[in-house]
């Protein structure tokens, strides 16, 4: 990490993300091309995954905190940060946010360690009946979400992930051939559909 690009991201509790600041952030992430907010959403997803891989208990909040700090810096700099490309600058800020988070949790008493040592705490807490109910609800949600997909997407997703090992590979090859696309292209398509389905199920289970 270069010294030049070290961000001025000290926590300013009174700063709030305003609509113009948010628009500036979107424009800066797009770098001149209007992605209709897709770049922002993708960066937020990547940041949340980054914090989740670091076992932070609130990855979404930390992703938002990172993007807020970037937006504030953009406001200070007049809408552009020249030292780094947007994604790299976001990473630098995310590292700072992570280290701050780590310091706070260490102060609070080794919460991170506790999380690592009790990976199934939530599962164990749930009684057998609750677990069954939860599974049932998830399956219902899955069926609902599957029915909302376009028929081709539904067929792809149900056929792509069926089977094990060699059988799975053969099925995927046959499906790709049927669709007239490469297996790689099929993987991308299936992965996207699954992401969509997973988000739908998560939302449905949360609402239930």
């Amino acid at each position: 990490m270069s010294e030049v690009s070290a961000p001025k991201v000290g926590s300013k509790k009174d700063w709030a993300l305003t609509p113009p600041a948010f628009q500036r952030l979107l424009d800066w992430l797009d770098q001149g091309a209007d992605s209709d907010g897709r770049k922002y959403l993708e960066m937020r997803r990547r940041l949340a995954s980054y914090f989740d891989r670091k076992n932070c208990p609130t990855p979404d909040e930390l992703a938002d905190e990172t993007l807020n700090r970037v937006a504030r810096r953009l406001e200070e700099e007049g809408g552009s940060i020249e030292t780094d490309a947007p994604a790299r600058y976001c990473y630098i800020v995310a590292r700072f946010v992570f280290m701050e988070h780590l310091r706070e949790t260490q102060k609070d008493g080794a919460l991170a360690n506790e999380l690592r040592q009790q990976p199934h705490a939530d599962d164990l807490a749930a009684s057998g009946a609750d677990e069954r109910k939860m599974k049932e609800q998830r399956l219902n949600c899955l069926e609902q979400c599957l029915s909302k997909l376009e028929s081709l997407s539904r067929e792809i997703i149900t056929r792509y992930y069926v089977g094990k090992a060699r059988v799975k590979i053969e099925r995927r090859r046959a499906l790709a051939e049927e669709l007239g696309i490469t297996v790689n292209a099929l993987s991308v398509r299936a992965c996207r559909i699954r992401d969509k389905l997973e988000a739908c199920v998560r939302q449905c289970v949360g609402a239930g």
Partner: protein
């Protein structure tokens, strides 16, 4: 470390927190800054979760998965989704297979009944007419022997794997012929029995040959299909190749391309105008309806003739004659780089 070194195995180790600190830090950065790595991580993570759910991980990886991956509620949620999803998929598959098995069983029952009634009728015919049964049986045998011989001769080139069986059949047929020559001196009852036995044996052999041929058909078809697939991309007669230059700004003239009727694949080289992108997607659009008929995977441009080109190919059957299409090149987050309109004639 170059990012090319990050194969699926390394990415899996990264997700399981098994890499060195330096490698982890490098991948932390790339997971945010590099589109390809970010995408690959998603694939690898799905595969990893699926492998856990389907019990395909090694013991060591499974232990690492449990101790690290399952430490996060968000990731446990991914596992729960995968469990539900696979349970649903397996259920659908089982239902589909049961329906197929039922259809097959129904199809098998009909010819079997037909065969049984034919054979029973033949036996009944002999039993009810003892006086001239012997003569009829000999005539039937002669016909069967001749028929089998002709069938045997006709299918020989295609039935090499059944050679041994056929040799045995021929030997028996020759024996039968000799026997039939001696028939007038043999008692009527034993000739009838021999004829019936011979008929049964021939019917059995015929059924065995049928069964073997049926079993071999899908495999032969699969081999033929695989061979044709291997040949398709390199078979010059089935490949039509075109080079498309970027359109002049403001021009709306679509290029006309002629595709011979036997063409299986259309290969296209797109000459790109200078731009800032390193990777691209190309979509084939039906110009009238704007419908996407085909979409490439992520493509990298190659340097050629002082500029950059994209090479791609798709199935010719996607194109209809007298129809206008557009090959749309996009870069980055789906930004349109250029359109290559064309019209097809056959």
């Amino acid at each position: 470390m170059s990012k090319q070194l990050y194969d699926d195995q390394t990415l899996t180790q990264y997700l399981l927190d098994s890499l060195s600190e330096a490698e982890t830090e490098r991948l932390d950065e790339l997971s945010l800054t590099d589109d390809e790595i970010a995408e690959a991580l998603q694939f690898v993570e799905q595969d990893l979760v699926d492998a856990y759910v389907q019990d395909e991980l090694t013991e060591a990886t499974r232990a690492q998965f449990k101790s690290h991956y399952l430490a996060s509620p968000l990731r446990r949620e991914k596992v729960a989704f995968a469990q539900a999803f696979h349970a649903h998929a397996e259920k659908s598959l089982a239902a589909q297979q049961a329906a197929e098995a039922q259809t097959e069983a129904a199809a098998e029952v009909a010819p079997k009944r037909k065969g049984q009634s034919w054979f029973s009728a033949w036996r009944g015919f002999n039993a009810s007419r003892p006086a001239w049964a012997w003569g009829a049986a000999v005539a039937a045998l002669a016909l069967l022997v001749a028929g089998s011989w002709l069938t045997f001769e006709r299918v020989r080139p295609r039935q090499q794997t059944a050679q041994t069986q056929r040799d045995a059949t021929r030997q028996r047929e020759q024996e039968s012929q000799k026997e039939s020559e001696n028939q007038p001196t043999a008692p009527a009852q034993s000739a009838e029995e021999r004829t019936r036995a011979e008929r049964e044996r021939l019917a059995q052999e015929q059924a065995q040959r049928e069964q073997q041929r049926t079993a071999e058909q899908p495999r032969a078809a699969e081999q033929q299909r695989a061979a044709s697939q291997r040949q398709s991309p390199s078979d010059a007669s089935r490949l039509a190749f075109f080079v498309f230059a970027p359109q002049m700004r403001g021009a709306s003239q679509a290029r006309t391309i002629s595709i011979p009727s036997q063409t299986a694949y259309v290969a296209v080289r797109l000459n790109l105008e200078p731009n800032e992108f390193s990777t691209y997607h190309v979509a084939l659009l039906d110009e009238a309806g704007g419908q996407t008929l085909w979409r490439s995977s992520r493509l990298k441009a190659r340097a050629a003739g002082g500029g950059q080109v994209l090479n791609l190919s798709f199935r010719a059957r996607l194109l209809r004659p007298q129809t206008r299409y557009v090959l749309r090149v996009t870069g980055g987050a789906a930004e349109i780089v250029d359109d290559y309109p064309f019209r097809v004639v056959r």
